[in-house]
């Protein structure tokens, strides 16, 4: 009987705490829209392993994006858009789908933050900007990160035409590896990570 009481009281406490917490999850929201089976990544003593191979992941990602009507964009095109004069004019928009901590640690210069897990906070700012743009490039960490896809789906469902939306699958990891500029802190902070 005591166990049942503890369980009941604990559940009530948990529900109330989650509801009151500013970081609480919304129980009725689908945070992984149209998602496939997640990939598990682990570290071994000598290397990082995944429940699927890199080529399987790449194929699976392309298939998944195609099924959802999203376009994938490769590094060369992303860099071309970044260097295009239209980027400064707002015709090309980069959207960073990661949380505040990761965004502040380093993002593509001028990218807008859109943490889709808290979409209601970011949509009012990001949506009008994306609606005016000709290309919207959404990225996250890269590799197994699916946040860019979920963010793109939310943007698509919020009214951004599919033809404008692109998912940069390589993400900030590929961007950084290619020696491209990375901005820290807030958007347009001007603080760039010095290149070695």
């Amino acid at each position: 009987m005591e166990t049942v009481l503890v369980a009941a009281a604990g559940l009530i406490f948990a529900l109330v705490a989650n509801a009151l917490s500013p970081r609480g999850l919304r129980l009725n929201r689908d945070y992984f829209p149209q998602a496939d089976k997640p990939t598990t990544v682990a570290s071994g003593m000598t290397n990082t392993v995944s429940s699927s191979s890199p080529s399987d992941n790449a194929d699976a990602t392309s298939e998944r994006l195609a099924r959802q009507g999203l376009q994938q964009v490769k590094s060369l095109q992303v860099v071309a858009w970044f260097r295009d004069a239209r980027y400064e004019q707002g015709a090309v928009v980069f959207v960073d789908a990661r949380n505040e901590v990761h965004y502040a640690a380093g993002h593509i210069p001028g990218a807008w933050q859109f943490d889709h897990y808290h979409a209601e906070r970011y949509l009012p700012t990001v949506l009008p900007i994306c609606l005016k743009a000709e290309q919207v490039v959404v990225y996250c960490t890269g590799g197994d990160c699916e946040d860019s896809e979920f963010a793109a789906i939310i943007l698509r469902d919020s009214g951004i035409p599919r033809e404008k939306l692109f998912v940069y699958v390589g993400g900030i990891t590929e961007w950084t590896t290619n020696g491209l500029p990375v901005e820290t802190g807030e958007r347009r902070s001007g603080q760039l990570i010095p290149r070695p």
């Binding site: 503890v6 559940l11 705490a17 129980l27 992984f32 598990t40 570290s43 071994g44 949380n99």
Partner: protein, 164 residues
Amino acid sequence: MTPPPPFSACWRSADTLAVLARWLIGGLFLYMGLSKALQPVDFLKLVREYDVIHASALLNLVAATLPWFEIFCGLLLLLGVAVRGAAAMAVVMLVPFTVLVWLRTMEMSQASGLSLCELKFDCGCGGGEVWICRKLVENVMLTLLSAWLITSRNRRFCVRPRLL
């Protein structure tokens, strides 16, 4: 002066052990629960990786409430309130979680060819990436300690050891 009965020393040791066990398990649950409650989205992603719950509402419910439930049970144990009930809840949480971590580890081990003790990942316990071998042993020890607490009659440093 007659010496105290031999079993009273044992009783005092068991009493002290029960208090320490309560504080250890309670402290761990409080710490682990807080670290997850402060980053619920990260925990949600980790729960999803186990690929056990597919319905989004249920996934959200587990990810949203489990950390706070751990905090609740941790506080009960630290304060010595409803000790048996809180310890029972600790066992109820530890057993399935340990089984799930074990199953996931076996899957990773088969996929990678690495042995159990060569694998390290974030199992969702709240401690970040951990060596799974060690984590499984820790969980088994915590489960046994919690199960022992259920039977313990210790009342020292308890606000209200029994509710009823």
